[in-house]
Each structure stands twice: as C-alpha cells, then as structure tokens.
C-alpha cells in the first residue's frame, strides 16, 4: 500500500480538539435549552393558538424541515447582514441550530401532548387549576415523558449536524480537524479520530440522557 498511518501529529494537537469538542457541546447545549423551551411554546401554539399564529408556526416548521441545515446556516450568516442583522459566526451557528432543532421539537412535543388522555386536562380543571397550571403541571410532564426518547435523539442529531458550522469558521470540533489536517497533511487519520470523538460524544450524551430520563420520569407511563 505504501502509506504509513501516523497518529502522533493528532496527539500533539489534542488541545485544539478539546477546545473544539467543548465548543460543539456548548453549541448543542444552547440549542437544546432554547430549542426545548421554544418547542413547547410552539407546540402549544399549534394546538391552542389563534388561527393565524397556528398557520405561522406550521409554515415555520415546514420551511425548516424541508430545507437543508447548511442552507439555513448560510442564509443566517451570509444573508441576514444585508438586512442589517450582523451575527458572529458563533451566534449564527447557535441561532441556526436552535431554529432547526425547534422545528423538529415542535412536531415531537405536539405528538406527546396529543398522546395525553383528555381526561387529564378535565381532571385538572375539575380540581380548580387554571388552564396554564393544568398545562404546565399536569399535561406537559406526561407529554415529555412519552416523547423523551425522540427528543433526546433529535438533540443528538443536532449535535452531529453541527459539524457543518465549521464551514462558517466556527472553531468547533470539525474545524479543529480541518486545521490539524491542513497543518499535518494527515487528513484521513485526523478525520478518523474526530469521527470517533463524535461517536463517543453521541453515545455518552445518549447514556446520560437515558439515565436522567429514568430518574426524571420514574413511575410515569412511558
């Protein structure tokens, strides 16, 4: 074959990789936190909002779900400045990831809310809870418990898809890989190691979420 694999150059740049992995996880955490909050609001709007608000949210969901993430990112990073909205690369990535995750999150959360039997809401009203309290304390916890695995999967998909943000020079994990391979000419080895790091992060994240889920939703019907 005549090619000697050499991983030493990557080990020498482990600081870069660590920084990149941290940034990827940070972006994912921002997108997951904001995205979940917005998803719950969006799902509630689709179910109980005014007709035009419902239509607006549905349009948003369809627009995001039927276009590639990278085009959304380019639109936000390169396109929006011409409207006077200037975002740094990191901000653009965080916004794009949040917007993307929210579109899927709304659909998932809505399905969860619809899976809660209507008797639960009626029971909430019957004991004198306000509609908002009934939603927050009775319906939402049960809805999230049902769709928790799907939400976790979507967050992990968002993390994996965030590799694309390296294209607008966000110094995430993939960007670190690009940098290392251009310095060392060890493209395959670098991307191989970084792919494994992503795999490790995805598996760890899922295990942690599953563990948290078992504790959070103990005793709830899943």
């Amino acid at each position: 074959m005549g090619y000697d694999f050499d991983f030493t150059a990557i080990a020498a740049n482990s600081g870069l990789l660590l920084h990149g992995a941290g940034l990827t996880l940070g972006l994912t955490a921002i997108a997951a936190t904001l995205g979940m909050a917005l998803s719950i609001g969006g799902a509630a709007t689709v179910l109980w909002g005014s007709p035009w608000a419902q239509r607006l949210v549905r349009l948003y969901v369809e627009a995001i779900r039927n276009t590639p993430f990278i085009v959304q990112l380019f639109f936000i990073f390169f396109g929006l400045p011409s409207l006077g909205v200037k975002l740094s690369a990191f901000e653009a990535a965080a916004v794009a990831m949040t917007i993307n995750l929210t579109a899927y999150g709304i659909e998932i959360t809505r399905a969860g809310i619809e899976a809660v039997p209507p008797g639960q809401r009626e029971a909430g009203y019957a004991v004198g809870l306000t509609p908002l309290s009934t939603f927050l304390y009775i319906i939402l916890p049960q809805a999230i418990a049902v769709v928790y695995p799907s939400l976790v999967s979507q967050i992990i998909i968002t993390m994996l898809e965030s590799a694309v943000v390296s294209q607008v020079a966000v110094t995430d994990l993939t960007h670190a890989a690009d940098l290392i391979q251009s310095r060392t000419y060890r493209a395959f080895e670098t991307y191989f190691v970084v792919t494994l790091i992503y795999l490790g992060m995805a598996l760890t994240l899922r295990a942690l979420f599953n563990r948290a889920g078992r504790r959070l939703f103990a005793g709830k019907p899943a």
Binding site: R65, P68, F188
Partner: protein
C-alpha cells in the same frame, strides 16, 4: 458584470439536477445496501444481528460530513482516486443504507412471527420466505417512512458542496459570491430545496394516513 434573476434562476435550477441525480444514486445504492443488510440480519442472525446493529450505530452516531471526508480522503490512500461526485455517492450510499436498514428492520419486525412459522412449515427456505411472504407484507408498511427518509437524504446531498461537488448549494455559493446578494440567492436556493422536498413530505404523510385507514 451584473446578473439578473433571469440568469440566476436557470443556473440554480440546472444545478438542482445534480442534487436530484446524487439523491437518486444514494437512494438506489442505499436501498440495495439496506436490503443486503436485512438479508444478513435475518438470514444469519447469529452474526448478522450484532454486525448490522454495529454498522447502523456507527453511521447514525457520526456526522455525515465526517463520513464524507473519510471517503474523500481515505480512498486515495488505497490508491483509488475519487471525484467529488464519486465520494459523495459512496458516502451517501453508506449513510442511506444504514438508515433504510434501520427503518426496514422495524417493518420486518412488525410482521407477526406466525408468518415465518407458517411459511417455514410449508417447506420454504429463507430466501423464498423473504421473497414471497415477509418482504411483500413489509413493503406496504415500509413505503411511508421510506418516502419520509428521501426528504432527509435529499437535504443531506447539500453536504456534497463542501467537497466541491457542484450541486445546488455550491452553485448558490458561487452565485452569491459573484452577485453580492447572499440574502436573495440563499432564499432562492432554500426555495428550490423546499419545492423538491415538500411534495415528498406531503406524499409520505398521505400514504401514512391512507394506511391507517386500510389497516
């Protein structure tokens, strides 16, 4: 030089053909791969169950962009020079095969075990069972989620722009850089993707609804 919309739109639409071509290659390749994985999983469960699960986990647990880079930079090490189209086709085929295998596995598992037993008791071997009993029944439930996955696959072809394949997204980048109108161009690009994906989304939904009624 100024470019008018009359120049830009045809340019982007022509580039969208490459997006469609790449999607078609990846889907056909991915479907063939998934079928083989399925045959392995059910034909030789002792090795196939574990091996296909690992394959699926590896491809679903890593970013497609990195898979693309590994093919693009890895194959030349084996002495195979690959064009951006070839690299993207191979990477997307592997990616699609993992997702389709996972989707179809669920559809095969949905077939009652009695169907396996009954066909075995008629003396059918594994291939005949699959061909005449299991796959025809699974196919019916598999179609809606498969069409849904097509949307995901079509969107994923946008990543081929990063290794320099001149499909819709990359053409959009080129035009945006040439015209200094990124807002308009990326909106147009998104609109063309939407026009390709949304009918598939609607189709998948309609098929799903029809199936819920007939079952």
């Amino acid at each position: 030089m100024t470019l008018s919309l009359a120049d830009i739109i045809p340019f982007l639409l022509l580039a969208a053909r490459w997006t469609l071509l790449l999607s078609a290659i990846a889907f056909i390749g991915g479907a063939s791969g998934a079928l083989l994985l399925l045959l392995w999983r059910y034909g030789a469960p002792r090795t196939g169950r574990r091996a296909t699960a690992i394959y699926i986990q590896l491809l679903q647990g890593t970013p497609l962009l990195l898979q693309l880079f590994l093919v693009f930079f890895g194959l030349p090490l084996l002495g195979v020079e690959v064009s951006p189209l070839a690299a993207a086709s191979i990477a997307l085929t592997l990616y699609a095969s993992a997702f389709l295998a996972e989707i179809w596995r669920g559809c095969v598992d949905a077939i009652p075990l009695g169907q396996w037993d009954a066909s075995a008791s008629l003396g059918m071997n594994f291939v005949t069972q699959m061909r005449y009993i299991i796959l025809p029944q699974s196919l019916k439930i598999a179609i809606p989620p498969t069409v849904g996955f097509l949307v995901q696959l079509l969107k994923s072809t946008a990543l081929a722009s990063i290794v320099g394949f001149n499909e819709l997204t990359r053409s959009g980048q080129i035009v945006a850089n040439a015209t200094f109108k990124p807002f308009l161009i990326y909106a147009l690009v998104a609109l063309i993707y939407f026009a390709m994906c949304y009918p598939l989304t609607l189709g998948s939904r309609a098929l799903e609804r029809r199936m819920r009624i007939t079952r």
